[in-house]
Assembly symmetry: C2
Homo-oligomer: 190 residues x 2
C-alpha cells in the first residue's frame, strides 16, 4: 500500500495520463485505445501500462475519482432542509455529469467489481440511500426504490439520449424518470 513517492517526471506524466484518459472517455466512451490516450498525454503507451497494469485499472482510476466528486455533492444535498428538493437537485446534478461524460456510465458498469470502484460506489450509495430515505419519509419519492435503482435509471436514461443530435434531450428524459420516481397517485383517467 505505501508506495515510495514518484519521481517528479513520473508524477507529471501520471497526471497527464489521467487527464487525457478522463477527457477521451468523456468525449468518446471507454473504447478509445490506450495508444490514443498515451498520444494525447504525450507519452508512450508503455508509460500508461507502467502505472496501470491493465486498461481496466486506468478506467477504474478515472471513474472512481469522478464518483468521489459526486460524493461531495450528495453530502451537500443532505444539508438542504427540503428533502424532496435535495433529492431532485442531486439527480439533476448527476444527470448533468452523465450527459457531459459518456464514459462514466460505461466505465462504471464495466469496472464495478474492481476494488477501487466498488469502494467508491459503496460510499456513494450509502449517502444516496440517506438522501432517498429522507425524501421517502416526506412522501416526495416512491417507497419501492433504492439507491442503485436511481443511479441505474438516471444513468441509462441519459445513456440512451447521448447519441441524439439534440444536445438537451437528456433533460426531458431526466424529467420523465424524476416524475416516475414520485409516489404513484390516484388518477381520474385510467
Amino acid at each position: 500500500m505505501s508506495t515510495t513517492p514518484l519521481r517528479a517526471d513520473a508524477q507529471r506524466n501520471l497526471e497527464r495520463v489521467l487527464d487525457a484518459a478522463a477527457g477521451l472517455f468523456a468525449e468518446r466512451g471507454c473504447d478509445v485505445s490506450v495508444d490514443e490516450i498515451a498520444r494525447r498525454a504525450g507519452v508512450g503507451h508503455a508509460t500508461v501500462f507502467r502505472r496501470f497494469p491493465t486498461k481496466d485499472d486506468l478506467i477504474a482510476a478515472v471513474v472512481s475519482k469522478q464518483i468521489h466528486e459526486l460524493v461531495a455533492h450528495v453530502e451537500a444535498a443532505l444539508e438542504e432542509p427540503d428533502a424532496g428538493e435535495a433529492f431532485r437537485g442531486f439527480v439533476w446534478h448527476a444527470g448533468e455529469l452523465h450527459a457531459r461524460n459518456r464514459g462514466l456510465y460505461e466505465g462504471f458498469s464495466r469496472c464495478v467489481d474492481l476494488r477501487e470502484v466498488a469502494e467508491a460506489k459503496a460510499e456513494l450509495n450509502g449517502l444516496i440511500e440517506q438522501l432517498i430515505e429522507r425524501a421517502q419519509a416526506t412522501g416526495a419519492v416512491r417507497p419501492d426504490i433504492a439507491a442503485d435503482d436511481v443511479s441505474t435509471l438516471v444513468g441509462s436514461a441519459i445513456h440512451g439520449a447521448v447519441d441524439s443530435p439534440d444536445r438537451e434531450l437528456w433533460r426531458r428524459y431526466v424529467e420523465v424518470v424524476l416524475d416516475g420516481l414520485r409516489p404513484p397517485v390516484e388518477r381520474l383517467t385510467a
Copy 2:
C-alpha cells in the same frame, strides 16, 4: 432485388444461421463472434459471410425481423378501445421483449442506419406515434414526448437492469418510466 431462389441446402443453412444468431444475440449481446454463431449453426463461418457480407448485415437482419414482430403487436394495440391501456400494454410487451433479448437494444442502436433496420424502425415508429397520440388525446400520456423517446427510454431502462441478478428488476424500472410518462400532476408535497 430479385434474387434467384436459394438451393435447398443453402436455404436451410440460412435459417440455421439466423436462428443461431438470434439466440446468441439474445443471450449474450451482439458481441458474440461470427465464428461462434457459425459453430452453433453447424456451418463454417464463410457460409455466414456468403449470405451477410458483413457482421452488421447479419445483425440488421436479425433485428429488423424482431422489429417486424413488434409491428404486428402495435397494430393490435391500435384496435383496443382504451387508449391509455393500449399504450401501456404495448410498453410492457416491448419491455418483455427487451428483457429477454439483450441484443435487441444493442443491435438496434448499432445498425439504425442500415437500410433494413431504418425502414423497419420507420414503420414501427409511425404506428407507435399513432398509439401515443391517441393516448395523449385522452390525457393518459404527457404531451411532450414522441415515439423515439418512448422506445429509447424503455430500451435503455431495461438495458440498465439486464446485468442485475434480480431477473425481474426491469419490471420495476418499466413501472417508473411508465409513471413518468403520465402527464405531470399538481401535487401537495413539493
